[in-house]
């Protein structure tokens, strides 16, 4: 059944029918001319021309009506009336040109199709019944002599007695039937294709608005929002004392003699303060959930840098690291600092899942099928029980003892991957270990840029100087 949302569609369909009918009227007049003038069939030409003219005139009327009224009710009424008049006109055309002998009787089929496309089921069935009634009525009236019959015959007798004419006639009707059927099928499928496109565009729009897919998602995003507010408050408070520390360390550095051993100490302190600054900034970006300023960056390098950061931690926990990265560059569009944060977090989780030691595999792969870059981190720990698997990205969800984890790590990772337009998946077999996959889109040109990136990037692989490049102001 049609719904209110179909109003526009119906209105468009009615216009389509009107355009189609204008052609049909001309076609009918042309066919009448060919039949009477060229083939010298004894059709009732004035009747045929009058019917074609009638079709043309009521078509103009409906065109005018469609321009003036576009309500659903008006469209339904107009469509029903049009189809009924079309059936009547077709019956009249047949009546004036051989009645049931006329091979164009098949054209009733098109009216049934049009009714099926435009109307509700019951209305379409009613229109089809009307077609049957009109055809049957015509035959009965002709047989009883109430209506005059114009047999389809030429000077040589009944048309189907002339084999060549019969073949040519059937052929012509078949070709025109096929062409019209093809045209209808194509326009119907084209419209449904367009409709699908509209629907998928609508879905994309909805997805863009980041509507939480479920109650769980909603809860997660609410928790994240309060987490964000908290983070912003903390960042603001910390930045002030940090300013004092940074300025004073800098001054002490400037004042100390170059040979003073304190210089090295101060330099390390300064480096760490600058690192804090970066972390707070990311926290703020994360809290605001804004764009992050992604850039084309080598995924291999993200992995290598992350592994460097956790090497000692792994050794301490008797975990063997098995990194894998291909020889060629894998360029993706990301914020590298955030991706390193994600990988380090995921790998540390993996290490913590193996209290008795084990192996941590961490690799980066190019998924040619989906054109994605995938980081995979796999541990040989105890795995995550099924009921917990669905909750691991929830903020404040943790299985660690109090004081050992905040339950924020993975929810932050989830969010970071999301704002980098990627996705993170976890699957786990109890007793077998856990595998985390982070999929990231590659840039349009990223894959072809491998050579150039090398030439332009600095030692760190940064596109524009230091990681400060993405600082917000």
């Amino acid at each position: 059944m049609r719904t209110l949302s179909d109003i526009h569609e119906l209105h468009d369909d009615v216009r389509w029918l009107i355009r189609l009918r204008a052609l049909a009227a001309v076609g009918a007049a042309a066919a009448a001319a060919v039949a009477s003038r060229v083939l010298h069939l004894q059709v009732y030409a004035p009747g045929l021309y009058a019917t074609a003219a009638f079709v043309f005139l009521y078509n103009l009327g409906f065109a005018w009506f469609a321009l003036k009224h576009d309500s659903h009710h008006a469209s339904i009424l107009s469509a029903n009336l049009q189809i009924s008049l079309d059936l009547l006109s077709l019956t009249a055309l047949l009546h004036f040109s051989g009645s049931y002998e006329n091979p164009f009787v098949f054209f009733y089929v098109f009216h049934a199709i049009v009714a099926g496309v435009l109307l509700t089921h019951w209305m379409a069935i009613a229109q089809t019944m009307l077609a049957v009634a009109l055809f049957a009525g015509m035959i009965v009236l002709e047989w009883t002599g109430a209506l005059r019959r114009w047999p389809l015959q030429g000077p040589w007798g009944l048309w189907f007695n002339d084999q060549s004419l019969f073949v040519a006639g059937i052929f012509a009707v078949l070709v025109s039937t096929l062409l019209i059927a093809l045209y209808m099928a194509l326009s119907i499928s084209e419209r449904s294709r367009r409709k699908n496109l509209e629907i998928s565009a609508m879905q994309e729009e909805l997805a863009l608005k980041e509507m939480p897919a479920s109650a769980e998602e909603l809860l997660r995003s609410e928790k994240l929002a309060s987490l964000g507010q908290m983070a912003a408050g903390i960042a603001h408070e910390i930045n002030n004392p940090l300013t004092v520390v940074l300025m004073n360390v800098d001054m002490a550095l400037a004042e100390a003699a170059p040979t003073d051993p304190a210089v090295e100490t101060l330099r390390i302190a300064k480096e760490e303060i600058v690192r804090c600054r970066g972390i707070i900034e990311q926290l703020l970006t994360f809290a605001r959930g804004e764009d992050v300023g992604r850039r084309v960056y080598d995924a291999n390098k993200v992995l290598r840098d992350s592994i460097k950061l956790i090497e000692n931690y792994a050794k301490l926990h008797r975990v063997k690291l098995e990194p894998y990265s291909p020889d060629n560059r894998l360029l993706c569009r990301i914020n590298p600092d955030q991706m390193k944060q994600v990988l380090v977090n995921v790998m540390m989780n993996g290490i913590q899942a193996m209290p008795n030691g084990g192996t941590l595999r961490a690799g980066v792969f190019w998924n040619d099928k989906d054109r994605l870059i995938e980081f995979k981190v796999q541990d040989t720990g105890g795995g995550i029980p099924k009921p917990m698997l669905s909750r691991i990205f929830d903020p404040f969800f943790t299985t660690k003892k109090p004081g050992q984890g905040t339950g924020l790590g993975l929810s932050v990772c989830h969010r970071l991957v999301e704002i980098n337009h990627g996705r993170i998946e976890v699957d786990s077999d109890e007793g077998q270990g856990t595998r985390v996959t982070v999929c990231l889109p590659c840039g349009e040109k990223a894959r072809t840029r491998s050579g150039r990136a090398g030439a332009n990037a600095t030692e760190e692989g940064e596109a524009c100087g230091t990681p400060e490049n993405n600082r917000r102001h």
Binding site: H236, T243, R333, C464
Partner: protein, 252 residues
């Protein structure tokens, strides 16, 4: 030695004021630091101030209030805004109201000195003598500019005012093609003679980098020679230019 410059510092945290005093007075400036916004504003109104450095979020008045109060009295003293809670919105508003620069906390001494030097120099720059922007140019006031191309792209460059304030540019560091820029985020760095830290340029709009002006990278002098034309820096595919242009100032 040049006659000492008077710098008014406004921050509600005593320790920050003290640090400013220590750092800047070492360079021979006369620093007058205030933890009370109203007293500070009265001092600025009294005149004879070469530069104002103000915190953004303070209990009585915000840095934006101070800027507005100065604008209302047509006080042209350059102002540098500092803040511990930097967002694109307050950065853009601060610049729109005429701040000379915007410095997120925490910053290094070198970063501070470079901003202060630019701020002090800005008073000597005669804006009337700077090249005029072509029609259709929008700017982060005196900082960077953007202009739409016919094909929907936008070109971005450095404003002649900031170029005049910062001294000779000896090199540029630009993002790469396909990098994503955010309005109010960095869109490149100018290596400046006599400064230990590069000058960070802020992107006037968000967008993906489509092309980088290689000629400027080879010959940075082109920047000052033709800031609005051949000296462009980046060509972007804008992300949401319609809404972002509202944050910018149309060229007169």
């Amino acid at each position: 030695m040049e006659h000492p410059k008077t710098i008014v510092v406004i921050d509600d945290e005593e320790r920050i004021c003290q640090s400013f005093e220590r750092v800047l007075s070492k360079d021979g400036h006369r620093v007058e630091a205030f933890t009370d916004e109203r007293q500070a504003l009265a001092r600025v109104f009294a005149g004879g101030v070469d530069l104002v450095i103000s915190d953004l979020m303070m209990p009585q008045m915000t840095g934006v209030d101070i800027l507005k109060a100065m604008n209302a009295r047509s006080i042209k003293t350059p102002l540098v805004m500092i803040t511990g809670y930097a967002t694109t919105e307050n950065a853009m508003e601060t610049m729109r109201l005429g701040a000379i620069d915007y410095l997120p906390k925490p910053f290094t001494v070198d970063e501070l000195k470079s901003v202060v030097a630019r701020g002090l120099k800005s008073s000597d720059v005669d804006r009337a003598k700077l090249p005029a922007a072509p029609r259709g140019t929008f700017e982060i006031r005196g900082h960077s500019w953007v202009r739409r191309c016919d094909n929907g792209d936008a070109i971005v460059g450095a404003h002649p005012f900031i170029l005049a304030c910062c001294g000779r540019v000896t090199g540029v560091e630009l993002p790469m093609e396909e990098d994503e820029l955010i309005q109010g985020g960095a869109c490149g760095k100018l290596i400046v003679e006599d400064s230990r830290v590069p000058l960070r340029l802020w992107a006037p709009i968000s967008g993906d980098v489509k092309a980088v002006n290689g000629r400027v990278a080879e010959d940075p002098a082109l920047l000052a020679a033709a800031p609005f034309t051949d000296g462009w820096l980046l060509r972007l595919r804008p992300l949401r230019i319609e809404t972002e242009l509202k944050n910018l100032k149309p060229a007169e």
